[in-house]
């Protein structure tokens, strides 16, 4: 399995005891597949200039999880329901010309307000006393707190996401780079666009479990941006983005294991952002990164 390979690669650095802990095994089991999926989906997101949509969906994930907590159901249910619902809505509203990002911004500002309401309802309920940090966990992730079944579930969904992303990679790439020609050649551009947003939504819900609703944007955007700067070839960039995300995840988890003050989500984000920042330094000045689709 992909996860097992990456895990053994990370363990091969001499830190064999790191996998002696259940919580670390679970973190790697869930984290690496989630990162692989986030890297692949993130690459398309950056290519399609839909990073702001990803931003919106990350905040929706927060509201969904806290809404579920406020009503006392499994937060994962709220996560997936909210992100998929909003991605369908955003997909329907899309391609309306230049007002898009204002509509997205307005809708998600309100959704975030609902999240705040859910947070305050949850914080004043009895359930919050049992799990006081749940709100902060949703915002910033708690990958070390995953149980075995939660980790397995997250990993299976991530592998599924990865397979879907690979399956639609070719038409999606075509539609992302030249929408008009793709439509003329019989690609169902609109259905593909909505379908892709649903994938982004599910990825956001997945990544929330690893790095938290507020930080998942980094896992989506940073490896993709770095890959785009390093190579012009789309498939190579897609694979590279996935691998960079997985490497950031593995390194970040290891760093946070070694430095207890460093929360895992910070470690992961620090590695991912560092790699992206490095591509600005090492890429020769004259070399242009692959052109992204204009936002209109």
């Amino acid at each position: 399995m992909i996860a097992a390979g990456a895990v053994s690669a990370a363990a091969g650095t001499g830190l064999t005891e790191i996998l002696g802990h259940d919580f670390m095994r679970h973190a790697f089991l869930a984290g690496v597949p989630i990162a692989l999926a986030a890297g692949a989906v993130g690459y398309f997101m950056v290519l399609r200039s839909q990073v702001f949509t990803g931003d919106a969906l990350s905040h929706v994930a927060f509201t969904g999880a806290l809404g579920a907590l406020a009503f006392g159901v499994d937060p994962r249910l709220g996560l997936f329901a909210a992100t998929v619902l909003v991605s369908v809505i955003l997909g329907m509203l899309g391609h309306r010309g230049r007002s898009d990002d204002v509509v997205i911004g307005t809708v998600f500002a309100w959704v975030l307000g609902l999240g705040v309401l859910a947070l305050s309802i949850y914080a004043s309920s009895d359930r919050a006393a049992a799990n006081g940090a749940a709100g902060v966990n949703v915002l910033f992730g708690s990958i070390f707190g995953l149980s075995r079944s939660q980790a397995t579930a997250a990993a299976s969904v991530a592998v599924l996401l990865l397979l879907v992303a690979v399956a639609i990679a070719r038409p999606l790439l075509f539609a992302s780079l030249d929408e008009a020609v793709a439509a003329a050649r019989g690609v169902h551009v609109r259905a593909l666009g909505v379908g892709f947003l649903i994938i982004v939504g599910v990825t956001a819900a997945e990544a929330t479990q690893a790095v938290g609703a507020l930080l998942l944007l980094g896992l989506l955007a940073a490896p993709a941006g770095a890959a785009q700067r390093l190579t012009d070839r789309p498939y190579a960039a897609l694979v590279l983005s996935s691998l960079l995300a997985a490497a950031s995840m593995a390194l970040g988890l290891t760093a946070s294991y070694l430095l207890p003050k460093v929360p895992p989500s910070f470690g992961i984000l620090a590695v991912a952002s560092g790699v992206y920042a490095a591509t600005f330094v090492v890429t020769p000045r004259g070399r242009r990164p692959a052109p992204a689709m204009p936002s209109r």
Binding site: G54, V116, F140, L269
Partner: protein, 300 residues
């Protein structure tokens, strides 16, 4: 939440004048209304340009970097205000510099902004973790609290708001030109790139101001929604800028009022809900005005 009100449970009567008078009896509420006014005017003016320039994503990110700013300032023991402004300014310059020279050119830009945003939040989380025992403070930083605003803070807010407004007024004409058509403006000798960075810095200042009131996560509601609403109502620049400020002030005051009378719910919820309601109303009104048959896509 309202222990500051001396344990008095405020109750809404049907006498509106009396309710308002009761609200204004407490100095902290007067401060909140003053701060709300300043913040709403400033965010209206800056937000109007932000919506026009389609820089919502940058605005959202600049708002969010206030969180690590404030958390870091608390960590090293200085006023959160300094941290808010310092981080917002650094991020504004960073976004402005990494942008291509082509005015509002995008390309890899969104990935950069997204990474800055997520990394900033991760830093904030790290600061909070190092500081320890800061959980309730985290929520206040992220979602705001209007109860603790002091007269000194109001004074700082006012000074910064005046400075930002003066700079914005000074560059308003070329900025409007550059925002509407960057290429033509550049050809006519307008320094588009410098304007763009200057505007991002102003946006950062405004975001830092607003976040002291609404918390860093909800700044965006006050920046984008009033401006979006006003630009639905009227296409004329001056009229819609004035309308933006009016909507912003009304929404802010109304939500302060509502939050005072229902102390169990946070102000952020009222703020975003009132603003969103205004936006929906504006769209509904426009739909009625433009005959439904003539314009099918009037929602945006």
């Amino acid at each position: 939440m309202l222990t500051a009100a001396g344990g008095l449970e405020p109750r809404l009567t049907w006498n509106l004048v009396q309710d308002v008078r009761q609200t204004l009896e407490f100095p902290f509420m007067v401060n909140a209304f003053r701060a709300g006014f300043i913040v709403a005017v400033l965010s209206g003016l800056v937000g109007w340009f932000m919506v026009l320039r389609r820089e919502s994503f940058a605005g959202h990110t600049l708002a969010i970097v206030g969180f690590p700013g404030a958390a870091g300032a608390v960590l090293i023991g200085v006023s959160a205000t300094y941290g808010l402004f310092a981080f917002a300014l650094v991020a504004a310059v960073l976004i402005g510099v990494t942008r291509g020279s082509g005015g509002r050119g995008y390309g890899a830009q969104p990935a950069v902004i997204g990474t800055i945003q997520a990394f900033a939040l991760a830093c904030g989380f790290l600061f909070v973790n190092i500081y320890g025992g800061f959980l309730s403070g985290t929520t206040a930083l992220l979602f705001g609290s209007f109860l603790g605003i002091t007269p000194d803070q109001v004074a700082v807010l006012a000074v910064v708001a005046v400075i930002v407004s003066i700079v914005l007024a000074a560059i308003a004409r070329p900025l409007l030109f550059a925002s509407v058509d960057a290429d033509v403006a550049q050809a006519r000798g307008v320094p588009v790139r410098i304007l763009s960075i200057t505007f991002l810095v102003l946006l950062g200042c405004a975001a830092a101001e607003v976040s002291q009131m609404t918390g860093t996560l909800l700044v965006f509601a006050l920046l984008v929604v009033p401006a979006a609403t006003a630009q639905v109502w009227t296409p004329r620049p001056f009229a819609s800028a004035v309308l933006t400020v009016v909507i912003g002030v009304c929404v802010t005051w109304l939500s302060l009022f509502a939050a005072y009378y229902s102390s169990s719910y946070p102000i952020g919820f009222f703020l975003t809900s009132f603003a969103f309601a205004a936006y929906l109303l504006a769209n509904g009104w426009r739909r009625l005005r433009d005959h439904p048959a003539s314009r099918p896509g009037a929602l945006v």
